[in-house]
C-alpha cells in the first residue's frame, strides 16, 4: 500500500490535454501487470489518482497516459523528465487478452475494440497484444475510435502502426474541422460496416459510460453475444484493494472487481440506474 517511487524518464504530449509518462522504478524490478489494470499514481504533495496502464507487459518502462482534468492529473501531466512519481499497483481486472510470452492461447474470434476519447489509453496495450497475436494467426482485430474532434485523437502513430500490421482501424469525430476528410458521427456508426463477424466476435469497450452503454447495445443488436462484451468502468478509486468502498457500483467494488467487467447481466442493468 506504500507508493513506490518511480522516475519520469520520458514525457510525450499526445494532445493538448493528454500526456503520456514513461516511468522507471527507483528501486527493484518493474512491476508485472496485465492490460486493462490500473495504478494509483501520486503527484508528490498534491494527491493520488487512479490511472490505467497504457503500455503492454514486456515493455521496459511503465506507461501511463493521463488526461488533465483536475489538480492531481494536471500536476502529473506537468511532470518533467527526472521528476518522481509515486506508484501503487497494479490493481483490478484486465481485458483477458493473451500476452505474447505468457503461454496462453490467443483468441481465434474477431475482437472489436471500441474506444471513445482517452478511453483508448487503457486499451492500447491490449490492442498491441491483439495485433501481435493476429500476425501469428489469431483472430482479426477491429479498432474503432471516436473522438470529439480530430485534434483529440490519441496515439495516432499506434493507430497507423496497427493498421499497417493488419488491424482494421476506423476513426470518427463528433465535430469535423476543415482539414478532416474522415468520418463524422458517433462511434456506433462505425460498427455496421466494420466487417467483423458478429456471431464470432468479442468486444472490448472503453470510453464515457454512456458511449459504452449504447455501443454495447448496438453490438448486441448486430448479433454479438453479450457475454463476449467487456467494458471498463471507473468510479472514485481510492484504496485500490476493495477496502474503502468509494468505488462501489452495486455489489462490485470496481478497484478490485473491475475496472474491466463483463457487460452482460447485472452490469448492463446497473449502468442504466441512477447513482444515489
Amino acid at each position: 500500500m506504500t507508493p513506490a517511487l518511480h522516475r519520469v524518464t520520458e514525457r510525450i504530449r499526445e494532445t493538448a490535454d493528454v500526456t503520456t509518462l514513461l516511468l522507471e522504478p527507483l528501486e527493484g524490478p518493474l512491476m508485472n501487470y496485465r492490460c486493462g489494470q490500473f495504478n494509483m499514481l501520486s503527484a508528490l504533495a498534491v494527491g493520488e489518482v487512479a490511472i490505467s496502464l497504457s503500455g503492454a507487459p514486456g515493455e521496459s518502462r511503465l506507461r501511463h497516459s493521463i488526461r488533465d482534468v483536475g489538480a492531481v492529473s494536471r500536476s502529473l501531466c506537468r511532470s518533467r523528465v527526472g521528476d518522481l512519481v509515486g506508484v501503487r499497483g497494479p490493481f483490478g481486472s484486465d481485458w483477458q487478452v493473451a500476452h505474447e510470452n505468457d503461454g496462453s492461447e490467443a483468441d481465434s474470434r474477431d475482437t472489436v475494440v471500441v474506444a471513445g476519447g482517452i478511453g483508448l489509453a487503457p486499451l492500447r496495450g491490449a490492442v498491441e497484444e491483439l495485433v501481435k497475436a493476429g500476425q501469428r494467426g489469431a483472430g482479426r482485430v477491429f479498432v474503432l475510435v471516436g473522438a470529439r474532434e480530430p485534434s483529440q485523437i490519441v496515439f495516432n502513430d499506434d493507430l497507423e502502426s496497427w493498421a499497417r500490421r493488419g488491424a482494421r482501424v476506423a476513426l470518427t469525430v463528433d465535430r469535423a474541422t476543415s482539414t478532416w476528410d474522415g468520418r463524422v458521427g458517433l462511434v456506433t456508426s462505425l460498427l455496421g460496416d466494420a466487417g467483423f463477424d458478429p456471431k464470432n466476435a468479442r468486444a472490448l469497450l472503453c470510453g464515457p459510460e454512456i458511449m459504452m452503454r449504447f455501443t454495447a447495445r448496438a453490438l448486441v443488436d448486430l448479433g454479438v453475444d453479450p457475454e463476449g462484451i467487456l467494458v471498463s468502468l471507473e468510479r472514485n478509486m481510492h484504496c485500490g484493494v476493495g477496502w474503502c468502498g468509494h468505488c462501489q457500483l452495486g455489489p462490485f467494488l470496481l478497484c478490485r472487481d473491475g475496472p474491466v467487467v463483463p457487460y452482460a447481466g447485472l452490469v448492463a442493468e446497473l449502468l442504466t440506474q441512477r447513482e444515489r
Binding site: 487512479a50 476528410d181 470510453g207
Partner: protein, 156 residues
C-alpha cells in the same frame, strides 16, 4: 449475368424483410447511379424528390456556415440512407450531401413512391417503418453527440 434493379434494391439493408411486391415497386422507381468525389447528391433548398441507398463510398452531410465555410455534420456510408426530405412538405433539401469518395448508390424517386404509396397503404407503411428506424437511429446519435461525451470532464 447482370444484376437486376430488383436484386440491387433487395440487397440493401433498408429493404431487409420487405415483401416481394414492395421490392418490385421500389425497384420500379429506382436507378443505379454513381457520383465522383466532390459531386453533390443534393443541395440545400433544392427540390427533394429523391433519396439514396448507399452501396459504396462515403457521403458527407454538410451545410455552409458564414465565416466557417462548409461544415460537415455527419457522414454516411455503405448501407446508409441519405435523404428523407422527399417524405414531408415542402419537399426541399435542408442540407447538402456530397460524395467524399467514388460513391455508388441506388437513387430512388421519392415523388414516384409518394404517389404509389397513396394508392397502396402497405407500401406507405413499409416505407415509413423503415425511414422511422433510420430517423430514430440518427436522432439518438445526434442526442448523444449533443452530450459532448468526450468534452471537458472534471476529476482528480
Amino acid at each position: 449475368m447482370s444484376t437486376t434493379m430488383r436484386e440491387l434494391v433487395a440487397s440493401h439493408p433498408f429493404t431487409s424483410g420487405m415483401q416481394e411486391g414492395t421490392l418490385e415497386l421500389i425497384a420500379g422507381c429506382s436507378t443505379n447511379v454513381v457520383f465522383a468525389p466532390g459531386e453533390m447528391l443534393c443541395a440545400e433548398g433544392a427540390s427533394a424528390d429523391t433519396f439514396y441507398l448507399l452501396r459504396r463510398g462515403r457521403v458527407s452531410i454538410d451545410v455552409h456556415a458564414p465565416g466557417q465555410g462548409t461544415v460537415i455534420i455527419e457522414t454516411a456510408g455503405p448501407g446508409d440512407v441519405v435523404g428523407w426530405s422527399w417524405l414531408v412538405p415542402p419537399y426541399q433539401w435542408t442540407f447538402d450531401a456530397r460524395a467524399m469518395d467514388p460513391v455508388g448508390c441506388i437513387a430512388v424517386d421519392g415523388a414516384c413512391l409518394r404517389t404509389k404509396a397513396l394508392d397502396d397503404p402497405s407500401l406507405g407503411f413499409a416505407l415509413l417503418s423503415r425511414v422511422s428506424v433510420t430517423l430514430l437511429s440518427r436522432l439518438q446519435a445526434t442526442r448523444m453527440r449533443l452530450l459532448d461525451l468526450y468534452g471537458d470532464q472534471r476529476g482528480h
